[in-house]
């Protein structure tokens, strides 16, 4: 049963992608989309439950342990929320000719292909398959980024696909090096690329080559994650994609890439001890947080702002991993979930806002609370959450990250981190406050928004708030086990 779940999860969206190609009517498309996403969500929950109950599941190239389940659950939740949101978002988009009706099914097909590849990424036990799936996500999402077809979209898409493909190739190179080390250690055939097998013998791997392999993987997958200084494509792509896709890109995709890094982090820890990989993650995390700051402060484009925030927050995750120890790793994994949920929520708000004001220039967006109270409130809540203020979820994970850093004695890193967080907080609250309050311009669309986007936002908002004040024992157990796995 569990084994079939592994195949089922990617298969459902993949088949959906094929079927929608044959459907024309927008209404039916939307319904199929919603159904498939909910199915994915339920399957993810089922898988998570079974893994929590009976431990890791494997079959062939696929496998799921606590770590991957964390990511699967995140992807499932976001996919469901995105579909709910799309229900009400799409008609308005069609009305504003953002998407032509003739290409609608292509859109849905691509989205589901994208989802399928993401699920495959986090479910693959085979490092090669992981690479293949990740390249798949690049290809599908690149088309989505360029979906609008105007020059900006295409430019962003080109930068995205080229830069990330380069990164991914480095990732492949690193994978091969580790594979070589593994093959050297246990001259095996296909199983040599199996993560489980490699992790099992990690201690016998040659440290030198694994170290180089990890560097390649970190830079390579790090490009896809959006760690500075390989992050530059990210604001372009995330700002040009249609908002639901942006939510998936920022919320889920970069986390899948992180998943890859985490896998190799475990292997590297096994082979060369915690030192090199931890230090590298710490360095890149810190650089990301620092680099993101000025771009957040002096930013005009709403969605680019969010893009740079993704850079900052993957930096925070990397910091957590780099600080290491149970606390740091736990914090990093928790932050993956928290940031995914929050960022998707804020992208939802951004989509609604942009279609109301017909602009993404934040200087032109005023008084959102007045014309869309719920969205405005969500904007503020999301902003505060992103800034790490209780009672929202990110506060908890950031608190833990700081604690891990102080526990590890990285006072300087923590100092820089907190300074940057404070500055970023100023910038973010400034932007959000300016957009939420004040008097809305005359041209703004004051029509009450449809139900489904609000439901989508409310869903994520609820999760955001809940995780801020209460971590369910199930999730806690899952994260703890995942931490053990990551630490090897």
């Amino acid at each position: 049963m569990e084994a079939s779940l592994l195949w089922l999860l990617p298969a459902v969206p993949a088949l959906t992608a094929l079927t929608v190609l044959a459907v024309r009517s927008p209404r039916r498309l939307a319904v199929i989309d919603l159904m498939a996403s909910l199915a994915v969500f339920l399957l993810a929950l089922r898988l998570g439950w079974s893994v929590v109950q009976h431990g890791p599941v494997r079959s062939g190239l696929l496998g799921a342990d606590a770590v991957s389940v964390v990511f699967v659950l995140l992807v499932g939740l976001l996919v469901a929320a995105v579909s709910v949101y799309t229900l009400g978002w799409m008609p308005r988009e069609l009305a504003h000719r953002g998407i032509r009706e003739s290409r609608l099914r292509l859109y849905y097909a691509l989205v589901h292909g994208f989802v399928a590849t993401m699920l495959l990424t986090v479910l693959s036990d085979n490092l090669g398959l992981l690479w293949i799936a990740m390249e798949g996500t690049t290809i599908t999402s690149a088309v989505l980024v360029g979906f609008h077809g105007h020059r900006y979209g295409l430019e962003a898409a080109w930068k995205y696909i080229i830069v990330t493909t380069i990164g991914i190739s480095f990732g492949l190179f690193g994978t091969i090096l580790v594979y070589a080390a593994a093959a050297h250690a246990q001259g095996g055939a296909l199983r040599a690329l199996s993560y489980q097998a490699i992790a099992a013998v990690a201690s016998q791997l040659d440290p030198g080559i694994v170290r180089i392999g990890f560097i390649f993987v970190l830079i390579g997958y790090g490009t896809k994650v959006g760690l500075a200084p390989m992050h530059m494509w990210l604001p372009d792509a995330h700002s040009q994609a249609p908002s639901p896709v942006s939510a998936l890109l920022s919320g889920a995709l970069i986390k899948c890439a992180l998943f890859g890094i985490i896998r190799f982090h475990t292997i590297a820890r096994g082979a060369c001890g915690p030192e090199p990989s931890g230090t590298l993650l710490l360095a890149f995390g810190l650089v990301s947080v620092v680099v993101a700051t000025p771009f957040i402060l002096a930013q005009r484009d709403f969605k680019r702002l969010l893009g740079y925030h993704s850079v900052e927050h993957v930096g925070i995750v990397a910091l957590g991993l780099g600080f290491g120890g149970p606390v740091g790793t736990y914090a990093a994994l928790l932050h993956v979930v928290n940031h995914g949920v929050t960022k998707a929520l804020v992208f939802f708000v951004a989509g609604d806002t942009i279609s109301r004001y017909r602009t993404r220039n934040m200087h032109a967006i005023r008084g959102l609370i007045g014309i869309a109270p719920f969205a405005g409130t969500m904007l503020l809540c999301g902003a505060f959450s992103l800034a790490g203020v209780p009672p929202f979820s990110i506060f908890v994970s950031e608190l833990l990250v700081v604690r891990a850093g102080l526990g590890g004695g990285h006072y300087l890193a923590v100092g820089v981190f907190l300074l940057m967080v404070a500055v970023i907080f100023a910038g973010l609250v400034h932007h959000a406050g300016a957009m939420a309050f004040g008097a809305a311009p005359a041209g703004a669309d004051r029509s009450p928004s449809r139900l489904s986007p609000l439901v989508g936002m409310a869903l994520l908002g609820a999760v955001m708030l809940l995780l801020g004040v209460f971590i369910p024992p199930g999730l806690d157990g899952l994260l703890r086990r995942a931490t053990e796995i990551v630490l090897g």
């Binding site: 090669g128 398959l129 020059r151």
Partner: protein, 218 residues
């Protein structure tokens, strides 16, 4: 065929691969770079074949075959097709002056050899100089992409870079598992297709080279 001979052959092929890469780096002619990358892929296939003979590994034969078909024929053909479609001017004007590029390339190669030298034990597993050559090829491929203005040149660089990876993969441990190899190639082809589409669409909508667009910044 005995292993030392195979090692020697692999080394020669590695040298050839590097040579072709340098040709790609140095030449300002789009067609020439495309032919060069095709040749490079052919050498790669040859390397695979050599190892296949040496190790009597059937998978490697398959890989060699696929490489010939896909990388030496299909992809170059696709590139040339695109070039014909958009009638891009043959000259590639570099972003970085070619000489400087070559200098950087030299440095990169040295670095990669040094790096490989620093790994003692592992080098036995790798056949000959495959590891440093592979690293060098990969990095140089990216260097090409960074230093060329037109999108097609960047695609060429990307393929060259992947050749480097494949070479390493083959040399390091008789190739990755077959289906993985195939999957990777599949991705490469898909990616190439998508990129081609992008190039064409930009040409048709705004008459510019997609690699030249730089409106999105900061």
């Amino acid at each position: 065929m005995s292993s030392p001979l195979a090692t020697a052959l692999i080394d020669y092929l590695g040298a050839l691969l590097l040579f072709t890469m340098i040709v790609i780096l140095g030449s300002s002619q789009l067609y020439r770079t495309i032919y060069a990358v095709a040749a490079q892929s052919a050498f790669l296939a040859a390397a695979a074949a050599v190892l296949a003979i040496a190790t009597r590994n059937l998978d490697l034969w398959v890989i060699a075959g696929i490489t010939i078909v896909v990388k030496a024929v299909l992809l170059p053909w696709l590139l040339i097709g695109v070039v014909r479609r958009i009638g891009v001017k043959r000259e590639i004007e570099p972003v970085v002056p070619t000489l400087l590029t070559l200098a950087i390339a030299a440095g990169t190669v040295v670095l990669s050899f040094q790096l490989a030298a620093s790994l003692g034990a592992v080098r036995q597993t790798v056949t000959g100089n495959a590891l440093p050559v592979g690293v060098a090829l990969t990095l140089l491929g990216v260097l090409v992409m960074a230093s060329r203005k037109t999108a097609l040149a960047q695609m060429v660089g990307l393929f060259a870079c992947e050749n480097g990876i494949f070479f390493t993969a083959i040399a390091v441990s008789q190739g990755m598992p077959l289906i993985i190899e195939i999957g990777v190639l599949l991705d490469v082809v898909l990616g190439a297709l998508v990129m081609g589409i992008f190039v064409l669409r930009v040409r048709s909508s705004v008459d510019a080279d997609i690699a030249d667009l730089s409106r999105l910044r900061a």
